[in-house]
Symmetry: C2
Subunit: 415 residues, 2 copies
């Protein structure tokens, strides 16, 4: 006997109840994007491996699902969307008025060790604003991220948005007289600082010519600095100031960020980043040599961590549950009480569906009691009983067992 | 200068206007599935290559995007969904009441020569009914496919559903005394007959011990045969008989079909199959050895051919265009006529969005005329002009240039 074929490690099957939860998230992502005036786009799941090599950021390269295709091309399943966006925007940037407000919902692939909150395949919501270099664009995206969390049912008790800026750190390096230090190497130390043993960080910082003490003092001082005023004032005007914490400890791992960076941070026991992003003004010209620089900023939210957080947070969980209850239910189940009326029952099924009602019926003869059992397990709102009295049918409301008699021509308007 | 990175051959970028057309199709697929009482599921894009080997059907194996992953697993990007469905259904069939009505919308990958109507990546709508062996289930799926076409705006002038049955051909072989012929080899000849030169078909049929004449006579005779009565009577009861043509010339290419097979066929100049499916009663136990046989039937529709057909068919095109016009438009554009009121304008933007309105505004100071230009190019319904008169704002309806003055607290309810 052949071995049972399993789902690949780190990949997920979405049975109907899981798929409904996934679709809830997609629906909320889309709804908030539409409110913010963003248009949806999508790129290919498979791209030239070169696209990811060029962007640098070695961390992602080591996690690629990549191979040589039948046409000898080096190809990779996409680990993130930003390089594709940069390619697409560079190719057609003259066709669109700036700024571009674009979002995408798609699947991504990274060969990592699966663990809680991390799979080898995940969905990600990508939101980008291209063609506008000002802090007003950064603030618009920060507001978007906050409103997305609120839309999902989270409050200021559940999350904060940690706002930072790589330019502040470049100013720090200058202030320390370290103009010649590699900013990428320095930022990488700051990025890892929260997860690293203090001695290791101290050693690394000393190696660059600064110290943990200087870094900590800078982080402590910056919250009140004028540096963040444009973004903070903008958010205050929207009534969103309470959701933001200036926190220079956030620099984001990816190499391509240039100015503002931020992450949405779970304040609960998990202490996880559920979304993150920032400004990446040089990436479009880096990906598409010859294209003009296109200032850009964006953020992304994956489906795995946020879904866990929704399930753990009562106010968010309640919204999900409400969606799930509605998503799976039927409007009508047509009970065939007399098999000689099957053709008439099929006609009714057709009428109900044509009116947009979610309708099911027994494909084969079944006892009436069993049909009602089906109707209940499918969470039907109404049962339409077709029997010898046709063209009169009985309409039962399953919640309260109330019943009325209707002529078939009064269906479906009186349901 | 580095070479420009291109989209891979046969793969598509979905810029916002293409993505909106794709989403229209997804929305209609989902809407009809819900009316028919089907629940959405999804499987992984990457599966063990063995899953496709086991199902046989060599045509697909030669078109796989497959490779060895970092963990030395033989993996393939999915070329179709049915093997995944069989794996998932076998793993959890005891958890669900039969019949299962399941649908999925996802992306698939086949390394084929790209040409009109064929790409290397495509979306596909998969609809399956598992756990019910009767012709009533086949009829339900045939009705689904017809109603889907009608929902998209097609009429009986635009398409027909060609209904066939592999069992009829098995009876033909028996009648010809060819009980020992390989049915798969015979069905493959019938499948290719429409596209093959007549002499080639004749030679192949002679090799099996029958003839083109016998085959043609059987096809001509079968339309009136009792064989199709259960499905045709069911469809007649729903008022859908006009959309069906019995046509034994259809047998479908895939090896796993067992009884009813059908395809939705464009009656226009294109003469293309836009959807197809049938019964596959043995596949679940074939994929998951040890699992009980689970009778099943299903059909699939890809996005590429149907999108071409929608665009070529005025009644279908009109429905798409109506969707596109609504999908891309803004509800409100907040014009900042006086920069000193930017904070107040941001407060209004926040209020409108909180009320669910699609809202945009200028991120940076712009002349008022230019802001109205933006509002028009973004197809905004209303412009809310915030100026020195705040808290009074002017609300302009862009279609007719009418204007009213409102107090800010009356927004958004009076928009």
């Amino acid at each position: 006997m052949a071995e049972k074929i399993q789902t690949l490690k780190g990949f997920r099957d979405f049975y109907p109840e899981d798929c409904a939860a996934r679709n809830y998230l997609f629906e909320r992502w889309r709804a908030v994007a539409h409110r913010y005036g963003f248009a949806e786009y999508e790129g290919p799941v498979l791209e030239s491996t070169e696209l990811y090599k060029r962007k640098s950021g070695d961390e992602i390269l080591g996690q690629l699902f990549h191979f040589t295709d039948r046409g000898e091309r080096e190809v990779a399943m996409r680990p993130e969307l930003t390089p594709t966006l940069a390619r697409m925007a560079a190719a057609k940037q003259r066709d669109y008025k700036k700024p571009l407000r674009w979002f995408a919902i798609g699947q991504f692939f990274r060969y990592e060790a699966p663990q809680k909150g991390r799979t080898r395949e995940f969905y990600q919501f990508n939101v980008d604003l291209l063609g506008e270099p000002s802090k007003a664009a950064d603030a618009e995206l920060v507001a978007f991220a906050i409103d997305l969390m609120r839309d999902l049912g989270f409050t200021a008790d559940d999350f904060t948005l940690r706002l930072s800026d790589r330019d502040a750190w470049l100013a720090f390096l200058e202030g320390e007289g370290l103009d010649e230090a590699d900013p990428a190497a320095f930022l990488s130390i700051i990025d890892k600082m929260e997860r690293e043993r203090p001695e290791v960080t101290e050693d690394k910082l000393k190696g660059l010519g600064t110290s943990r003490e200087a870094v900590d003092a800078f982080i402590a001082s910056a919250a009140g600095s004028a540096h963040f005023a444009p973004v903070l004032d903008d958010l205050a005007a929207r009534g969103l100031a309470d959701f933001v914490t200036v926190d220079l400890g956030v620099v984001r791992g990816l190499a391509y960020y240039t100015g503002t960076v931020f992450e949405v941070f779970d304040k609960g026991r998990g202490m996880r980043a559920v979304a993150g992003g920032g400004r990446y003004d040089k990436l479009v010209s880096l990906i598409s040599e010859g294209a003009a620089d296109l200032p850009a900023c964006g953020f992304a939210m994956g489906d795995v961590v946020i879904t866990d957080l929704i399930k753990e947070t009562p106010s968010a969980r309640a919204k999900l549950d409400e969606h799930l209850a509605a998503a799976g239910a039927l409007d009508a189940y047509v009970v065939i009480a007399d098999e000689s009326k099957r053709a008439e029952a099929l006609g009714i099924v057709q009428r109900l569906r044509a009116a947009g009602l979610r309708t099911d019926y027994p494909l084969v003869p079944l006892k009436v009691g069993k049909q009602f059992g089906h109707a209940e397990s499918l969470r039907a709102r109404k049962a339409i009983v077709v029997g010898a009295e046709f063209p009169t049918v009985a309409v039962k409301t399953l919640a309260d067992r109330s019943e009325q008699q209707l002529l078939v021509e009064d269906l479906p308007t009186q349901l």
